[in-house]
């Protein structure tokens, strides 16, 4: 424990400095800086740096000074529900020990309706919530009264929020709060980022306070006894080595990229847990009760290891964690460093992290990533750019739910926050028009407008619509989830699975959830009913595929490593053999070339292109090349893009890639191909849901609605034909382009890398093996899929011995 070795400044109220002393702690300089900040502040500190306490110090100081009236004083917003719960628990201790009369409550989607109703009438001093719950609160007519006395807003993990539409939504909420509570001060809390000034701009301006980064983290690859497999992402081969590392640590966190992988890895660990160490599993698909139990056990020091996905890694109370194990490549370097963080209260000791590559390709990635960390290079931050206009549409609807508003005042309000500072009045008016009338070229809804202007103010035409609007709040367009319960009639909840996964199950299929194998029995009333079946191997173990992008910087480092035989000395021997095998069967990618290969597998031709140009560039190449392949009659069926490579599968082989990769005429006839692509349609679905054109499927409605829902693709096609300049299509095009590289850049890359190396491999190559398992496949619905359907239909008719004449004519069947 650090000794109390500095003079406590006079502006830390005596009870607080006394409390610090009683813990044996000294306040960190950045915590005191946050207390002294005159206006809005942004704290940049790594995990375990006492960030959250720094955010709350001014509130605690005000309470100690008796400077706290009734009503809401501090609003804390975090991206994770679990975090609000955790913070409530952590704050309770100092508040109790300081003898403060402070009411602290959380409010999330999990909070009961009665409690939420009471909070609207009688808000606590400190309210802990999420961006969505804040948006909901702002939509109530009582919002001005609730937030009138608000003094502070603490935004936790703001770096994570700033990367998504949730951040846009939060900033719009903040713009409203600033109007309702003019003296408000905002504290943003962020993990280490490359460009803090950009994050400060996102907040609408703030003083940047940096914590001492502390000693460099101790990161290395875990020594394993067997080489990793060629492909796969589970890491099960290293279960024994991981178990040994856990047994040597006090408390280990084992991170793995997806929920399905967490399930499988937990099982693999359990199988080699010879000494029965207490280890647990934690991920977002598990039932809330189960997650809470694990969190509590972890806080109480009852566990030795927790296997977790992203649901735990955003700054939960790490207690006495002294080892972080990362299974699978960390994808981007920044994420790795943020993840590793530091154990609480041990700010001066370096954190220890060990990476376990899940396949051989990931060994390369790990070696490259570790070199980047040594060199102190973080990945560049994504420039968030302008806030989503679909989010603004939703915000305008919510404002109308709270009461009539003046468009000029709202425009002035929202342009104060970073994401909307550059929004033109014309763009704002287009959003308002969409919300009010639908914004269509054909003015069809004059009688049924959603918002109407009276006396200069915009009102909801039908106040009863407020309920539906509130139900559709939020910017996360997640796949539909179904809850999984044991046995018929309200058995114990085990967690949630995606609807599409549930649809793929047949009665009797077994899958893993919550660390146990269960058998699918039936789907009833939107609940998946299962029976535990411990003895059976899970038949199906794929759900919730989550795709994370590696940075372009890391991709370039991996290519450089492959291309530089002198650097291979840093690689384990089995990796050197594996690289040599790739060179023998096909070719090793070299910087400055387009290295590609073709092979046949299970009746499909595969074409893999190793550009190492980043996911956006490969995604774009996928769209461009499949277009050319369709035109050339190669019948492409789909593609998947990673940071390193592009894999396309088709019914006919690519014999000569040169015409496909010719920079000339790349954009010819491309418009329709792009517009009809699945990337576009997925984007439209998300945009239309956020903007309020599509209603989210809500549990109660879905039971009855037999023909109620229709696909958003139909709306997309209709708009494209009849109203191509509609606001939602403009937003869709813009957002889809964010996931794609600029065509100019692609043309330049193709011109600069005109050396094309194409190998015809006899079978799957070492490099292509992991690509076959990639998530995020983009289907191509064109001549190839139609041909397959025709063949399948003919096959099934022949198999059934059926013809199309005489059905029902004479026979009884």
């Amino acid at each position: 424990m650090p000794a109390l070795d500095r003079t406590v400044p006079s502006d830390l109220p005596a009870p607080l400095s006394g409390w610090f002393a009683a813990q044996g702690w000294a306040p960190h300089p950045h915590q005191l800086d946050m207390l002294q900040a005159a206006g809005d502040a942004l704290l940049i500190a790594s995990t375990g740096g006492g960030k959250t306490l720094a955010g709350f110090l001014p509130t605690l100081a005000a309470a100690c000074a008796g400077d706290m009236a009734q009503g809401l004083h501090t609003l804390y917003v975090s991206p994770l529900k679990a975090l609000t719960h955790d913070i409530a628990r952590n704050l309770a201790r100092p508040v109790a020990e300081l003898g403060l009369d402070l009411r602290i409550e959380d409010r999330t989607g999990d909070t009961s309706a009665t409690r939420r109703a009471r909070q609207r009438v009688d808000p606590p001093h400190i309210l802990l919530t999420t961006p969505e719950s804040l948006a909901l609160m702002l939509s109530y007519p009582e919002a001005p009264r609730i937030f009138k006395g608000l003094r502070r807003v603490v935004i936790d993990e703001i770096h994570a929020l700033a990367e998504s539409k949730r951040g846009d939504q939060l900033m719009l909420g903040l713009s409203r709060l600033r109007t309702l509570a003019p003296g408000l001060r905002v504290a943003g809390l962020s993990a280490t980022v490359e460009n803090p000034a950009r994050l400060a701009r996102f907040m609408g301006g703030a003083e940047v306070i940096r914590a001492d980064p502390g000693p460099a983290p101790d990161i290395a690859m875990l020594q394993v006894s067997a080489p990793p497999p060629w492909s796969g992402a589970g890491g099960a081969y290293a279960a024994r080595d991981v178990m040994r590392a856990i047994s040597e640590a006090r408390l280990a966190l084992v991170f793995i990229n997806t929920r399905a992988q967490a399930e499988l890895f937990f099982q693999a660990l359990w199988a080699v847990n010879d000494t029965n160490l207490p280890i647990a599993l934690h991920h977002g698909s598990l039932a809330r009760e189960q997650r809470r139990k694990v969190e509590a056990a972890m806080a109480a020091g009852e566990l030795r290891a927790v296997v977790a996905t992203g649901s735990l890694d955003l700054g939960l109370d790490w207690g006495d964690v002294d080892l972080v194990l990362q299974i699978g490549a960390p994808k981007n370097i920044k994420r790795l460093v943020q993840r590793i963080g530091r154990a609480n209260h041990r700010y001066d000791t370096p954190s220890r992290a060990r990476i376990v590559p899940a396949n051989r390709f990931e060994v390369l990635e790990c070696v490259a990533a570790l070199r980047a960390v040594e060199a102190g290079e973080l990945d560049g931050d994504e420039d968030a750019g302008q806030g989503g206009r679909d989010v603004l549409c939703q915000h305008l609807m919510l404002l109308a739910c709270a009461g009539p508003f003046d468009a000029d005042a709202v425009y002035a309000e929202i342009t104060q926050v970073g994401p909307y500072a550059g929004l033109s009045r014309a763009d704002f008016d287009a959003c308002l028009d969409f919300v009010a009338t639908g914004g269509y070229a054909l003015r069809a809804y004059d009688r049924w407008q959603r918002l109407v202007q009276r006396d200069g103010l915009w009102h909801l035409r039908d106040p009863r619509a407020a309920r539906d609007i509130r139900m559709n709040i939020g910017t996360i367009v997640a796949p539909e989830l179904l809850s999984v319960r044991r046995g018929p009639r309200g058995g114990a909840p085990l967690g949630e699975i995606e609807e599409s996964f549930a649809a793929s199950l047949l009665p009797g299929d077994t899958f893993l959830i919550g660390g146990q194998t269960v058998r699918y029995d039936r789907l009833r009333d939107m609940v998946v009913e299962v029976t535990p079946q411990p003895t059976r191997e899970p038949k199906i173990a794929v759900f919730n595929g989550l795709k994370m992008a590696t940075s372009t910087e890391l991709s370039a480092r991996v290519l450089a490593l492959i291309g530089d035989r002198d650097a291979w000395g840093a690689l384990p021997a089995h990796i050197r053999d594996w690289l040599a095998l790739q060179a023998e069967i096909a070719a090793l990618p070299r910087p400055g070339t387009m290295t590609c290969e073709s092979f046949l597998r299970a009746g499909r031709w595969y074409f893999a292109l190793y550009s190492f140009a980043g996911r956006n560039a490969n995604q774009t190449l996928g769209l461009l090349l499949t277009h050319r392949m369709e035109t050339a009659g190669l019948a492409p069926l789909g593609f998947v893009a990673t940071d390193y490579a592009l894999l396309i599968w088709s019914l006919e082989p690519v014999r000569d890639p040169a015409p496909l990769l010719d920079a000339r005429g790349l954009r010819d006839g491309l418009q329709d191909w792009l517009a009809e692509n699945a990337v576009m349609k997925r984007t439209f679905r998300a945009v239309a849901t956020v903007a309020g054109l599509l209603q989210r499927n809500l549990p109660g409605q879905r039971k009855s609605g037999k023909q109620a829902t229709f696909s958003s693709d139909i709306l997309y096609d209709t708009l494209r034909k009849f109203d191509p300049d509609h606001l939602l299509l403009q937003i869709t095009r813009r957002e889809a382009m964010r996931g794609l590289a600029d065509f100019g850049r692609i043309e330049e890359m193709l011109r600069n890398r005109s050396a094309i190396i194409h190998s015809r491999a006899p079978h799957v190559t070492p490099f292509a093996a992991p690509l076959l398992l990639e998530a995020g496949r983009i289907p191509i619905r064109a001549s190839g899929s139609e041909r397959l359907l025709e063949e399948e239909a003919a096959r099934m008719m022949a198999e059934a011995g059926l013809t199309l004449d005489g059905l029902g004519a004479t026979r009884g069947t």
């Binding site: 139609e786 029902g808 069947t813």
Partner: protein
């Protein structure tokens, strides 16, 4: 072959990739569940303001199908309008609909969404009996041709509108632009067509046999 010819109770039919059914012996094109005016009805009820082009889009497709098939008669198997009031709010699509009714002899079968008279040219009936087959909105005593359920069929990871062809019932997919659908193995459809042939629509019409999966005992 992009269309699909088949026989049902001794009559020849052609399933078209659009979801329309052509009956050569009667010179008739049959469609089900146009749901004209759906977006207006949703807006009127305070729901989403959907792109108000679906009536126009549906009628354009219907016009094209009538021209391509050469049919003189049009038989709409019910739910032609999303509700009785939707008949009044067609806006720009109204003229197109009237012109279509001038060019063709139309038989309007009443559906559950549009039971009332709508005053358009043509004949309005609750159901009718032609060549030994009943034409009605909701399948009843067979053999009959009907709509109502908006059948869909899943194949190779796709979910497409489909004709369902069983021993006693021939059920048409919905023709309207903004209409969802019901899977062929939904209990409601399984009760009518437990096994038979689905003719999936899209770029081409493909016939695929099916037998509804047995449900586990409850």
């Amino acid at each position: 072959m992009s269309i699909c010819r088949f026989q049902f109770h001794g009559q020849d039919f052609t399933a078209r990739p659009s979801g329309a059914l052509y009956w050569p012996a009667q010179g008739a094109l049959m469609v089900a569940d146009l749901h004209l005016g759906k977006s207006e009805r949703m807006a009127r009820r305070g729901g989403a303001l959907l792109p108000p082009f679906e009536s126009l889009a549906t009628l354009e497709r219907l016009d094209a199908e009538l021209a391509a098939s050469g049919a003189q008669r049009l038989i709409c198997l019910g739910d032609s309008f999303d509700d009785d009031m939707a008949r009044e709010g067609l806006g720009a699509a109204e003229d197109r609909l009237r012109a279509l009714c001038q060019r063709h002899a139309v038989i309007w079968v009443a559906g559950n969404h549009d039971p009332a008279p709508h005053g358009l040219a043509g004949v309005q009936v609750d159901e009718m009996h032609i060549a030994g087959l009943y034409l009605r909105h909701i399948a009843g005593e067979g053999p009959d041709i009907s709509g109502h359920y908006h059948p869909k069929f899943r194949v190779l990871g796709q979910r497409r509108r489909a004709f369902l062809l069983g021993a006693q019932h021939l059920i048409l997919p919905s023709f309207g632009a903004y209409t969802g659908g019901l899977d062929h193995d939904d209990p409601a459809l399984r009760a009518l067509v437990p096994e038979g042939i689905a003719i999936v629509t899209g770029q081409r019409a493909h016939a695929i046999p099916f037998k509804a999966a047995l449900q586990p005992q409850r």
